[in-house]
Symmetry: C2
Subunit: 606 residues, 2 copies
């Protein structure tokens, strides 16, 4: 069916059900970032493939709400569908709940699929709808009727990520969570975030591209734990291991009716920012007001990486460094040979080098491989239909990452393919200065991302230049490449950056129609010292891939910045050389040791 | 009466009234920072003279809650009173509302003087009290019965601050406010903040030390405006001028019963963060739910200084610069002559130089004049009983300011009186680097104090050192020396720094038992340029007093920092020299032009 036909059918459904609007959200029952096909309903209805967007259909209007990243793409993909683009993150933007509150008549009903919308979003709608007495009606899976060949749940096998990688046993995590909810006066908890469940049980799968989690719900109380999932994906061995820790399996679809039998002698803990509204309704039916709605305790605990996880991240960045060195060596050689290389050829090549590394599982997201002006779009995605060929001039940007059994990576490098303009060189330098300033920061415990963010921006702000995205996000351990709760950006969000958190640092500069630059390293927060002025924290750089110094404008750099670059590049060489061929190591030496601002003195022969 | 006797009487009152606790807050009916004697009830009851604190009396306990600044002073002043110190701003601090909620029995009653507590504080208490059903009873002026010689309201005359100083007529401000409340759907507004009222009506007085405001309430609707105040303080001429703009006078005490006659055809606007609870109760009796409780629109409007006010601030800092130059010249000479100078002698001398300047009204706060280790207490106050004598070594800090008819000043300088330790010199340098970094910042519109604050701290954080106070506050125009809504500190407070705001920049470093350093300039936010990356703002330094460069550790300074210091000091010299005696100007030259990092080239004789 075409979008036009689907929308016509949605309107018929609205007619017969007495609804005045239907909302098709862009997520799944677990508030996931990457969705299995079954839950790509927004794409099915509208044809729009961006990662963020909501479709709303009323009797006389159909609209897609999305943000700045996708305006051009949305206009192209919505052509001929009758769906109008509503722009978000622009001055005076009106999001869909406000739009509905403005456009619907007194007492109208808005249908949502309560499975694919978290409680918090429904509550936000209800608050905006109250003055006009609009109602929200939840109809789980209403899309089924219009989607004859709707894909089934994925069935990739589940595997255990052992304590040698996770550093903490399932039994220990379960005991910790039981304690954590008891401290909040709760007797049970329902987890719906897939990464939280995978972390809790030390399990992983390939259900969803780029995110090695298992589609499931986890409920537990002091006595037992039940994992609602596709049981056939679990081996007998893994079932036995889970059972040994008191975790039993139940069919995924059973969670709904199970709630009616959960013990109600103490309140239940839920995270309304993540839990879908359909399950929440059942929870309230069962527990009444004995529901504690707060951020899941797993969210922060998971972000504070333990020593085993940190060691794994180090191994992962080392492997990534080897693969990236081979890639950039290949790229330089191939360009010199005059080979025709497209953006997709380049990222495919990088992936092929990564695949050779031990413990490689998957890319942690679809790589952004962008040459020249394409790199000015921070979320550019090359397609076979629209894909540039690399030229021997200007800048090439590649933002990519992988999941290894050890840990997950996310790294961006921008490299010169030939001569650069003065602006390219100056911006390349300023963006790197921002990354260095944040990497070198010392700060007292309690400092938040909103306080730190400016450090990465000041070298650009000095010239009244800026980038329109956040500076950094947390990264999960073989989980989601974008992980909370920390967040490095200007927004006032009250989460301190704490020891054990691993956060990206990725300032950029985008000159529309010309070029884009981003440098991204991964930073581990650690404790420096305690003194009478505070409990001091700092960052250790995890990333182990050289920074190309040839574009740098030396006059702009301070001695401290030069020293950072020298130390970083020489440590990359020292770390990687033993794992490279002689030829590769020699090449890396030309990019690092031979390019230091303060050349190292040769040791004297005795 | 002694505190012991007063507390005994308070307990008798509690007995006969059926109260279980009494709260004596540290403010007045207008949420003022500086209080006339009439409202210094907390000092009367406890003997504690700090600027911040609350006394709570129950049948078996009497306590004073105050913060880190006053612990030592409170312990001394509370000795023998039976009042216990409760520490705030320390780990696990319990503020008085939480303490009451913990210690009182189910259903107990807490008496407050609703005149001296804003609605927001009462609401906060009520929320904490709800689980145990504690009640808040408001009894305005209950202290009268225990305070036989309670001072009357002050009666200083009121004067008009003309449009030549304010840049905006009373009529224009009244029309603007009527429009602003109409946009919120309100027909009237009750203002209780004294600086907002003084700003609205272009009037000033000397009712309160350091704050040239008039004790009053202002109510207005579309038709009329009533100023509830001490009418005898107004000249016939000023009354006529107010009447011409439709402002009538009424007795201060009449506001309570007047509320019952205010028109209720549209909601009333109040600011519950400032309006006292006693008046709020009357407003609710009259208006029911037709009350809009939000931040007063005057707060932000007043902070965005107009061109006339900015020109006045420039004149005020120029005058202050002349007075300070004379003071530091005198200080150096007197020290060289071996005169005995106490901290109080020094600040008195500075005040005497300021008094000579045209349009001087008052100091804008009690000067902090602190030598050596005393300066390690950021809010140190020398007293005739405890007052150090300046010695020819180490650092002397003076933080002071004045109100002139043109504008208000607040400035801190730390100067060497002789040899310094390496630590003193390094910290002096780092603190100045922090002030320079913030002064030079460019930032896009929307950037808040929480985002900017780190710039002033980084040079200290680099060495794991810090200061325990905010970086900057707004300053009123011949009003309060501490003025919102902007605030430069780590706390997440959602107010952007906007063009026209004048904000202090005052990083410091305090080494307990040894020395204290603070450098404070005043910064005017202005618009730099608009481009595709944002609407860029920056700061212009208003302060016109030289910075002593002799303690600076040159190796720590970047070229940019040296250039800032050179430009600042030479501009101070150029600006002030024409208004100094030849001798003073020659001396200032030795402190500025002769101390530049890059000496200016002599112009060639033609």
């Amino acid at each position: 069916m075409t979008p036009k036909e689907i929308i016509a059918q949605l309107r018929q459904m609205m007619q017969s059900e007495g609804w005045d609007a239907i909302v098709i959200s862009g997520t799944d029952p677990h508030s996931s970032e990457y969705l299995p096909k079954r839950w790509q309903a927004r794409k099915y209805v509208s044809g729009f493939t961006g990662s963020y967007g909501t479709v709303v259909v009323t009797h006389d209007h159909a609209g897609l709400w999305t943000d700045t990243r996708y305006f051009i793409q949305a206009v192209a993909q919505l052509e001929g569908t009758g769906i109008e683009l509503h722009k978000l993150r622009v001055p005076d933007a009106v999001d869909f709940p406000e739009w509905l509150a403005q456009h619907l008549g007194e007492g109208a009903t808005v249908c949502v699929d309560g499975l694919c919308m978290p409680l918090a979003t429904v509550e936000h709608m209800q608050a905006l709808f109250a003055p006009k007495h609009l109602q929200v009606a939840s109809r789980p899976d209403f899309i089924d009727a219009l989607w004859p060949d709707r894909p089934a749940l994925p069935d990739a096998p589940v595997f255990e990520l052992g304590v040698e990688y996770t550093g903490r046993s399932r039994a220990d995590k379960l005991a910790w969570l039981r304690q954590a909810i008891a401290e909040k006066g709760c007797g049970s908890i329902l987890l719906s975030s897939l990464d939280e469940i995978a972390w809790m049980l030390n399990i992983r799968s390939r259900d969803i591209a780029h995110t090695p989690v298992v589609i499931a719900y986890l409920w537990l109380d002091a006595q037992k734990a039940v994992l609602y999932t596709t049981e056939s994906k679990f081996s007998d061995e893994l079932r036995a291991a889970l059972a040994a820790d008191g975790v039993e399996l139940a069919p995924y679809a059973d969670v709904m009716q199970s709630i009616a039998s959960w013990p109600i002698d103490a309140p239940i803990y839920i995270d309304g920012g993540m839990l879908n509204y359909a399950l929440y309704e059942k929870v309230v039916e069962r527990f009444g007001s004995a529901v504690v709605n707060a951020t899941s305790p797993v969210k922060l605990e998971k972000a504070l990486k333990n020593e085993t996880e940190i060691a794994g991240f180090h191994r992962a960045y080392h492997k990534d460094g080897v693969a990236q060195t081979r890639f950039f060596y290949w790229l330089e050689q191939a360009m010199q040979r005059g080979e025709r290389i497209t953006e997709i050829d380049a990222s495919d090549k990088l992936i092929s080098f990564r695949r050779e590394m031990e413990g490689y599982l998957d890319e942690s997201f679809a790589p952004i491989s962008a040459y020249g002006e394409n790199a000015a779009l921070p979320h550019y995605s090359a397609t076979p239909e629209k894909c540039s060929v690399l030229q021997p001039r200007g800048l090439y940007l590649i933002d990519s990452g992988a999941h290894y059994l050890d840990g997950s990576t996310d790294i961006t490098r921008t490299v010169p393919l030939g001569p650069l303009t003065d602006d390219e060189a100056a911006d390349y330098t300023c963006v790197l200065q921002g990354m260095i300033a944040l990497s070198l920061a010392s700060f007292p415990r309690g400092t938040r991302g909103a306080n730190l963010d400016i450090l990465a921006r000041m070298p650009l702000w000095k010239y009244n230049r800026n980038y329109g995205h956040g500076t950094g996000h947390g990264v999960g351990h073989v989980l989601c490449v974008h992980e909370g709760p920390q967040d490095l950006r200007q927004n006032l969000y009250d989460q301190a950056v704490l020891p054990g958190m691993i956060t990206s640092c990725e300032p950029g500069m985008y000159c529309e129609g010309h070029y884009g630059i981003r440098h991204e390293n991964m930073l581990l927060c650690y404790e420096e010292e305690k003194n009478e002025y505070g409990d001091w924290l700092g960052f250790i750089t995890m990333t182990c891939t050289y920074i190309d110094t040839t574009p740098l404008v030396e006059e702009l750099l301070t001695d401290e910045e030069k020293m950072f670059i020298d130390c970083f590049n020489s440590s990359v060489y020292e770390a990687l050389a033993p794992d490279l061929t002689e030829e590769e190591a020699a090449w890396l030496k030309t990019k690092t040791i031979d390019c230091l601002f303060e050349p190292m003195e040769e040791e004297e022969e005795l």
